[in-house]
């Protein structure tokens, strides 16, 4: 029970403002939330609602204009550029929607890249095991151009996991994949959470992808406006989104209630 309540990542009052002084764009507008260890969270919301920005801030790829982010209890605000890089290398895994792999390196080399950057040379069997875990043991020597989109995403997952990070972030990892390939990647992520207690945070537009998660966070205009926990199915998620689009005010009241319920 205590293990479940440990928060791997916390965000407190995070605001992210871009653009010029005259034309500011508020991507995140005071987000406070946390991702508990060993859980699978899906972040959803309309385009431009700040999902990617939330992930970037939580992963230390970008620093928020205001607010506090912690990973494994470490406050990112206090870290310098190099310390932040090292933290990303050791504690955070990241899978992007596309362009995940260095095109001149083979799958295996891409997987071992973070460890190499850390000055360690991973044993070949660790790399093989990581690729095996994502079902690509036989493609180790292939370059990204020789792999399908789904395979590339799975190599990216293997790379994100090789450092045994505290948390794995994925920004629309299945955005460019067909349903079969998506299912493979999502099952993989689910299995990581179930079998290894991995913490996963994933942005998605697809309710059926969100259904793999333990919890769904809904963003709109840079704020967390809704949250679902328990009994998450594609239909339930889709219904909740539709409901919000039809009646944003009512939905947001509903969201507030849910959030309050959770905090008790």
């Amino acid at each position: 029970m205590t293990a479940m309540t440990t928060d791997t990542v916390t965000l407190t009052g995070v605001r992210a403002v871009y653009g010029t002084r005259d034309r500011p764009v508020t991507a995140l507008d005071g987000v406070t939330t946390s991702f508990a260890s060993g859980t699978f969270t899906a972040v959803m919301g309309p385009s431009g609602s700040g999902k990617s920005t939330l992930l970037h801030c939580a992963a230390g790829l970008d620093s928020p204009t205001e607010g506090i982010v912690t990973i494994d209890g470490i406050r990112l605000n206090d870290l310098g550029e190099d310390e932040l890089t090292r933290l990303r290398r050791d504690c955070v895994g990241f899978v992007f929607q596309a362009f995940n792999l260095v095109s001149t390196l083979t799958a295996a080399q891409n997987v071992e890249l973070p460890l190499r950057l850390a000055g360690r040379r991973p044993p070949a069997r660790d790399v093989a095991a990581a690729l095996d875990a994502v079902g690509l043991a036989d493609r180790a020597g292939h370059r990204p151009s020789e792999l399908s989109g789904g395979e590339q995403q799975r190599v990216a997952v293997a790379r994100a996991l090789i450092t045994r990070p505290a948390v794995l972030f994925a920004d629309e990892p299945t955005g460019a994949l067909d349903s079969a390939a998506s299912r493979q990647v999502l099952r993989l992520l689910r299995a990581l959470v179930d079998d290894h207690g991995q913490t996963v945070v994933m942005v998605t537009h697809d309710p059926s992808a969100a259904a793999y998660a333990d919890r769904v966070l809904l963003l709109a205009d840079g704020r967390v406006v809704d949250e679902l926990t328990g009994g998450i199915t594609a239909a339930a998620v889709a219904a909740r989104i539709a409901e919000r689009e039809a009646d944003p005010v009512g939905a947001s009241r509903h969201a507030a209630e849910t959030t309050e319920g959770l905090s008790c």
């Binding site: 550029e81 190099d82 990241f94 929607q97 950057l117």
Partner: protein, 798 residues
């Protein structure tokens, strides 16, 4: 993360640069003076004291007088191990074959040199027929002239044509007369050769000889005897050295420059990959180290290839240098150690220097850039960059002024090269700031009805000003260099000719034709005012150099004053220049009339002279004036360079008559030709290089734009429209580069012109060789279009 395709252009650029550096340094190392064949048998040679400084060592040494030489010779002959000591005399003597100087290799200085017969043993000359010359009127000539023994031959000497009889033939250039005759024609001696007894050690003899000679000469053995090569060869070699040094320096500079822009470009194209590396945990320093390591790998391997190519090219280029006259005919390539070492180091060093700024930019790539589309650059140019650029332009401008006002052509040329480098570097640094305005300026010609292409071209160039600027950089470099250097050389040549013509007040000028000078007989036939130059030596103990060579002009004062407009007398009177002991000096000597002035003449005698007049420094085409008779007395072999006449006359034998403008333009024609060849060589190197760089960057750019072009095609552009688009884009890049480079160069040329006008005192026209410039821009344009259209065409076929 080294990608062959990506590194290819940097590799090629470094390889070519190192090949040039290797060739130039190998040739430089090979350019050592050769022991003249004429002295090959003399294991030890004593040379008269060096005059002047190292850099202009092609001035003759200060000769010994006949008595000093005779005394020294007999003391040297008495040394143990010396079989014979032979004074070597050299004078002007040219055999006439069919009333004309023999056409046999006009460039060979030794073909019109005469010596005493005893000198023949110093070179171990083989007499192929006849007898040695025993008395006056007998001569031994080169059998290549095709003369037989016993036949009469006319020798052109400083006095005029003289009848001789061929007494024998040798298999070497030059003519040999009886020693007594040689002693009259060349009283002064500059070298004494020692023939050693069998088994004698040259070094031991040399040590003993040094004891005898003391400070009154140098004792040379082995390769040191190369110092005795003909002075013309030494001068040719020196010019060759200048060419090679400049080529190597330019090649190194251009390479760093081109490779830097190539690296900058690849880094810009790799932002996403670098961002990804940063995202998965690479620190800025690691990215930087990676970029350095890549550069090092490229530099080292390309350097090796460049060295091999350079070593292979060196002999061919060496022969070419001999053919165009940059190296003496005796030149041969030797593979020394240091050029190889320099070239091996050059590759990595060039690459590391070039990647420096790109690596800084690479380290600054933020992790999130992995996620964004090719980011639109924020600011075209930073404040530091503006400051750097302005500074470089200022330095360049200052150096151009230095070029224009430098007294010596040699110094000016060096200033000019550095001025070009600074101006070009400055212009490149500032280029991004100028791209925007220039593109807007060029808007109208690219605008067409519907103008999608114009819009795309403009949009691309404007949003990516840095990219456009780095594409234009090689064009800028090439055009600026070509315009500035060729314009400078042409303008300077024309300015000096104009100044020279302006100084002369005469209708026509008689000049030598096919020989080094005019004989006294020719001068008498021409009438008019003659200049009889000779080299004299001023010895000031305690100064450096101790023996200073000066050009003394033997003149008739009234005629000289009438023909020379530049003449300004500061003190005394030119009319007093007569008798045996008078001299006119320039103001820089700080002498006053009636002061004493001692000079050593070509016969080695120290002549006490009295100053009768002082003139301004720019009054004379030499250093001082003496009566013509004084020169003739002390230098029997002196030849007249110029005769000013009022009316057109029929030129005497061995002479030609020209008008003043032609004479002024021709005066330095031989040297001007070498300089122009040198200029074309340098422009060729930089233009070829620039063109390759243009092609390189555009090829890279085309690869990077594949996705964009496919999109444009999907958006409805026909294949032809896309091809037009890339053609227009590369033309725009070349145009921007040419405009920027041209303006930088013209700014430099204008300052050079202003300085020159001041110096020569007449208005100077800007001479711009448009054909050279047109050729350079055309080459860049052609390669640019080919390099962007070809890959696009291939891309569109799939």
């Amino acid at each position: 993360m080294l990608s062959i395709r990506r590194s290819a252009s940097a590799f090629v650029a470094v390889a070519i640069g190192v090949a040039l550096v290797a060739t130039a340094t190998l040739l430089l190392a090979s350019g050592r003076p050769q022991v003249p064949d004429r002295l090959a048998q003399a294991a030890v040679v004593v040379q008269s004291p060096e005059a002047g400084t190292e850099a202009d060592s092609f001035v003759p040494t200060r000769p010994w007088s006949a008595t000093a030489a005779a005394e020294l010779t007999s003391r040297l002959a008495g040394l143990p191990g010396v079989a014979a000591a032979v004074p070597d005399r050299t004078f002007y003597a040219q055999p006439l074959v069919g009333d004309r100087p023999s056409a046999a290799d006009a460039r060979r200085e030794d073909a019109h040199q005469g010596h005493g017969w005893s000198s023949a043993q110093l070179g171990g000359l083989r007499r192929t027929a006849g007898e040695p010359p025993r008395k006056a009127g007998e001569v031994v000539v080169d059998r290549a002239l095709g003369l037989r023994t016993g036949v009469p031959v006319t020798l052109l000497t400083a006095a005029g044509p003289e009848p001789y009889t061929v007494s024998g033939l040798v298999d070497a250039p030059g003519v040999y007369v009886a020693d007594e005759v040689a002693a009259v024609l060349a009283p002064g001696v500059r070298a004494i050769g020692l023939l050693l007894a069998p088994g004698a050690d040259p070094e031991r003899v040399a040590v003993a000889a040094r004891g005898v000679v003391g400070g009154d000469g140098q004792v040379l053995t082995g390769d040191e005897r190369g110092a005795l090569e003909p002075r013309g060869d030494a001068r040719t070699r020196w010019i060759g050295m200048q060419v090679l040094t400049a080529t190597a320096a330019l090649a190194g500079f251009v390479t760093v420059f081109v490779v830097a822009s190539t690296f900058a470009f690849t880094i810009a194209q790799r932002r996403r990959e670098l961002g990804l590396l940063r995202a998965v945990g690479a620190t800025g320093r690691q990215v930087r180290r990676m970029v350095y390591a890549e550069a090092l790998a490229v530099g080292a391997s390309a350097g090796l290839v460049g060295l091999l190519v350079g070593a292979a090219l060196a002999p061919g280029l060496g022969r070419l240098l001999v053919d165009v006259g940059f190296e003496p005919a005796t030149f041969a390539v030797r593979y020394a150690f240091w050029p190889v070492a320099v070239s091996l180091v050059a590759g990595p060093v060039i690459a590391l220097l070039a990647v420096w700024s790109a690596s800084r930019r690479a380290a600054r790539v933020r992790p999130l850039e992995a996620l964004r589309e090719a980011a639109v650059e924020q600011r075209p140019i930073g404040r530091l960059r503006v400051a750097t650029g302005a500074f470089l332009v200022a330095v360049g401008a200052a150096l151009s002024v230095g070029t224009a006002t430098a007294d010596e052509a040699r110094v000016a040329a060096q200033y000019a090269l550095y001025a070009v480098m600074a101006l070009v570097a400055g212009a490149t640094v500032l280029a991004p700031a100028v791209v925007g305005p220039v593109v807007r300026l060029l808007r109208s010609p690219v605008r067409r009805p519907g103008g999608a292409i114009g819009m795309l071209v403009r949009g691309g160039a404007l949003t990516a000003t840095r990219r456009t600027a780095s594409l234009a950089a090689p064009v800028l470099l090439t055009v600026a260099f070509a315009v500035l250097v060729s314009g400078m050389v042409r303008t300077t040549t024309a300015a000096y000719a104009a100044g020279r013509a302006d100084n002369v007040n005469a209708g026509w000028i008689v000049v030598p034709d096919g020989g080094p000078g005019l004989s006294d007989q020719a001068v008498a036939a021409a009438g008019g005012t003659a200049l009889l130059p000779t080299t004299v030596f001023r010895t000031d103990p305690g100064t450096l150099p101790e023996n200073r060579p000066l050009t003394a002009l033997g003149v008739d004062p009234a005629g000289f004053a009438a023909a020379n407009r530049a003449l300004t007398v500061v003190a005394g009177s030119l009319n007093d220049l007569r008798g045996e002991d008078t001299v006119v000096v320039t103001a820089s000597t700080n002498l006053l009339p009636s002061e004493a002035y001692e000079l050593v003449f070509a016969d080695g005698t120290l002549v006490p002279l009295r100053v009768v007049a002082v003139v301004t420094d720019d009054s004379l085409p030499g250093d001082l004036l003496v009566p013509r008779a004084v020169v003739r007395t002390h230098d029997p072999s002196a030849l007249t360079s110029t005769v000013y006449v009022r009316d057109r006359i029929d030129p005497p034998v061995g002479a030609r008559i020209v008008d003043v403008a032609t004479w002024a333009a021709e005066a330095d024609a031989a040297e001007d030709r070498l300089v122009w060849l040198f200029t074309l060589l340098l422009i060729g190197v930089s233009a070829g290089y620039g063109a390759i760089a243009v092609a390189n960057t555009l090829l890279l750019a085309a690869a990077g734009r594949a996705a964009d072009l496919r999109l444009i095609r999907l958006a409805g552009a026909t294949r032809r429209q896309v091809l037009w688009l890339v053609t227009a884009e590369s033309a725009l890049v070349v145009l921007i580069g040419a405009l920027l480079g041209g303006s930088v160069a013209f700014a430099g040329l204008l300052s050079i012109r202003a300085g020159l006008a001041e110096q020569v005192g007449v208005p100077v026209d800007l001479a711009v060789p448009w054909s050279v410039i047109g050729g350079v821009v055309g080459l860049c344009l052609l390669l640019a279009v080919v390099a962007s259209v070809l890959p696009t065409w291939r891309l569109l076929r799939h």
